[in-house]
Subunit: 125 residues, 2 copies
Amino acid sequence: MEATSRHVLAEFYGSPAEILNNVKIIEKEICRAALAAGAEIREVVFHKFAPQGVSGVLIISESHISIHTWPELNYASVDVYTCGTTVDPWDAVRSLKENLQAEKAEGIEVLRGDGIPHKTKEEII
Amino acid sequence: MEATSRHVLAEFYGSPAEILNNVKIIEKEICRAALAAGAEIREVVFHKFAPQGVSGVLIISESHISIHTWPELNYASVDVYTCGTTVDPWDAVRSLKENLQAEKAEGIEVLRGDGIPHKTKEEII
């Protein structure tokens, strides 16, 4: 099937709470990560939760990038889902690790669209 | 860590192309699936690609639901990511299987927020 896509599920630990709770910073850094990976941004939606936490998604031509933050745990959860061969989803993960000032990022890559989703790779960055 | 979440990555096969290429129907069915699972919808964003295909995401209080469709392959890829214990992500998958008229749905459940994401379950519906 030609819809085969790469989906990276990544976790970020140790980011400052003031970054993870700032919806403007999170939106800026997710957009920066998308562009760092060479993705084309189509739609942007972000939401600030009370008392804390941010969720946001970019729809990109290649699929999507999402983030959910738990400032109280200095933790963020990110998905980078890309079809095609021009974008490397791990480039977005590396951009976010640096710019969210995470102490550690780890994730798995899952192949989609070719039978039951299956893990192909595991990385600690 | 208390941010542990359930993330279902599901694939749908055999849905009619006219459903998968209709952004209004896809948006309606994703919202219906979210409500069927007991999720609270916060933000809605959908995008229609040319010449075909739809991408869309709901930000829900519990995290997000996303869909990408390939009408030419009668295929759709769905993620249901839920934190907390009140929403069962598989309820959304079952709703979509029925209402997208898919012949088959299959997916894996991945535990997030507790170390490297790891698969906990595989289902064919």
